[in-house]
């Protein structure tokens, strides 16, 4: 009897010790699982971000069928905001840990256009030049100036004013209606007669010029004279293109032109109304005095001129500096688009009215030049892919879902329900894609279907991609079939 009592007491003590220890272990494990759940939720956000980059909605997995990541699961709900931004809500579950985070993302911001008028090593604004801003998607610029200009550099920014003006009223003053941002260790050198309406704070980080991939097109010809020609809906590669004085070359989108040398003595007309016009010049870029650059289309988001490492000898050795005659830019007229010359010292003449964005190794606005930064360029799909921009990130309350509130291991719970989580890459809501592309024989083709069933090696130039959610497709397919049936009955 006594021994039974002793054994009972000892057993009770042991059970108590085990209980205390296991509660300590559970609390310890819970802390680890909560941390891991945060990482899984962040992995979900990254996956949704990737989906947005390729044109999908950002929805990944669902609460009923989440995506699997490591030893946990997650799902992301994407909601389009009326203001154009996208709200991504990602919930991660690992063991007993649960975390929900939200990110607000603004769709695509062109990294070249973000810096506005950008000179890597410096910007010089001549006396009497005016830099202002507009948003061509909202209003007609001609009516008013807007203070949304951006002048940016990793180096110094120099603004020339009128130091010695006998008649102050007659003297042309230099205006920047917007922000002027020199480099982290740069300065603004501003002479009297200069007015800057916005911020003059330096950059907090250096801006790096993005690499613009030059399309690898088959050679269409050597040196050609395209004077008086009109080209549209083609992709062409020439060694040299000449436009004679008194003649016009019209490029109408969709069109890609890659040339080693572009010599313009006449007029180059660009029309991006029906599709993008992208011109890549790799060695010599010469718009001589008397030449003209004109636009037929109005939106600058459809036209881009990209200059490579000009003056590069044909032997392939890199030039140390751009030879002076490799870049001549003296056109008259109007340019609406993106002009990007990361290796060159580019001067915008007063004879050319520019709307859009300009980037170069150094940028100089000639005295009296007028340039307008168009905010619509931030969303331009020119040169580089426009990546979504993160606006806000925060930890939020957990959603009211059974999987979240149960606190069991989610993988175990899903197994009990007979649900198998999907691999992360296959969990995107959209799997049906509509592709427009050119194959290796330059024939335009279309494809609609599951991306996994398409051979990407068939694509030579990809022109457009549209993702669709198979559930929505099926719904609208059935709806259309019903409407067709009703129409037949009526007839």
């Amino acid at each position: 009897m006594a021994s039974l009592l002793v054994v009972t007491i000892v057993a009770g003590l042991g059970a108590g010790l085990v209980s205390v220890q296991s509660s300590i272990n559970r609390r310890h494990a819970q802390g680890i699982h909560n941390r891991q759940a945060l990482y899984v939720a962040e992995a979900g956000l990254s996956e949704a971000f990737l989906a947005l980059c390729v044109g999908k909605s950002g929805n990944v997995g669902t609460a009923a069928k989440p995506a699997m990541w490591g030893s946990g699961v997650y799902w992301v709900e994407a909601t389009q905001d009326p203001e154009g931004s996208i709200l991504l809500n990602s919930t991660g579950l690992v063991g007993g840990g649960r975390r929900s985070i939200t990110a607000v993302v603004r769709a695509g911001s062109n990294p070249v256009a973000e810096s506005g008028f950008f000179g890597m090593d410096g910007v010089t604004i001549g006396e009497g030049a005016i830099v202002d801003g507009c948003d061509s998607t909202l209003d007609n610029y001609e009516d008013e100036l807007t203070p949304s200009a951006r002048v940016t550099s990793n180096g110094d920014i120099t603004l020339h004013g009128n130091l010695v003006a006998k008649d102050r009223e007659a003297a042309a003053e230099t205006f920047v209606y917007g922000n002027v941002s020199p480099g982290v260790e740069g300065v603004i050198v501003s002479e009297p007669g200069v007015q800057i309406s916005g911020s003059t704070f330096p950059l907090t980080d250096e801006v790096s010029a993005p690499a613009i991939p030059v399309p690898d097109l088959p050679l269409s010809g050597g040196s050609v004279d395209l004077s008086g020609s009109s080209l549209s809906d083609v992709d062409l590669r020439y060694e040299a293109v000449q436009i004679n004085a008194g003649t016009t070359l019209t490029l109408k989108g969709p069109l890609t032109l890659v040339v080693d040398t572009l010599e313009v003595d006449g007029t180059l007309e660009l029309d991006g109304a029906d599709g993008k016009v992208e011109v890549f010049v790799l060695r010599d870029f010469r718009f001589r005095a008397g030449s003209a650059l004109e636009m037929i289309s109005v939106l600058p988001t459809q036209v881009g001129i990209f200059l490579g490492d000009l003056g590069e000898p044909s032997g392939g050795a890199k030039a140390i500096e751009t030879p002076e005659d490799a870049l001549v830019f003296l056109p008259t007229g109007t340019f609406r688009g993106m002009l990007f010359a990361p290796f060159s010292d580019l001067t915008i003449p007063a004879s050319l009215r520019v709307f859009g964005s300009v980037g170069g190794k150094t940028i100089t606005l000639a005295p009296g030049a007028r340039v307008t930064f168009d905010e619509a360029m931030l969303n331009a799909d020119l040169g580089v892919d426009t990546l979504p921009q993160l606006l806000s990130w925060q930890v939020v309350e957990l959603p009211d879902e059974d999987l979240v509130s149960s606190r069991l291991d989610p993988l175990l719970q899903l197994k009990l329900q007979g649900v198998e989580p999907v691999q992360s890459a296959q969990a995107h809501a959209e799997s049906v894609v509509q592709l427009e592309y050119r194959d290796h024989t330059n024939v335009k083709r279309h494809y609609t279907g599951d991306i996994s069933a398409f051979d990407l090696n068939d694509v030579y130039v990809l022109e457009s991609v549209k993702w669709q959610d198979p559930v929505t497709l099926e719904f609208f397919g059935k709806l259309k079939a019903k409407h067709d049936e009703d129409d037949e009955d009526e007839q």
Binding site: N25, L391, Q394
Partner: protein
Amino acid sequence: MQRPGPNAGFTLLEIMIALTIMALVAVNITMVTRTGSQAARSGAFWQTLNDEADQTLDRITLALMSSDADNLYPIAIAPLYTNEVTYSVSLGVENGEVITSSPESISWEQQEDRGRVRWFENPGLPDERSVTWSNWVPMFFAGETFNGEDDNENAVVDETGLAFDMQGELVNVHLTIERQGPEGEWLPTTRSVQVTCRN
């Protein structure tokens, strides 16, 4: 030899041997029990200490992750440090503008010869709120003494039990939690983590 009768007892020798064996067994059981309970107390102590350090650090890192690096102050770059950081967290986007919270701060406060970690909302204002996240933060980071040198080779000099140093959008958080162990001695555990401000 004759069998012992039904009322026969134990001999003195048998009793002596039995008592000796019982004593040995009792001593062993006592030693095992004591060692076991010491190990259990020590294990429980370290687990509790580590849990407190992890929990405190999790709160700090979650707060800093939600903040905007441009709104952090003061800025301290290693080998300098700050034991207090003020920030605002993002609450979302409205009409295209990011909405931020009221200012918050996390600071190490001295309490006699030790310190504590406190979180404040609206620090220094009439509607200030505060929560103590840990009461067991020593004067100096483990291995560090006030001598103008980086004793623990973590690139920061003479840092307190809670210290922050910044590298752009990155914030390095150094935390020591110290409590009295089962034997009465002060035992520390340390955590260092690099946090990226997400906003």
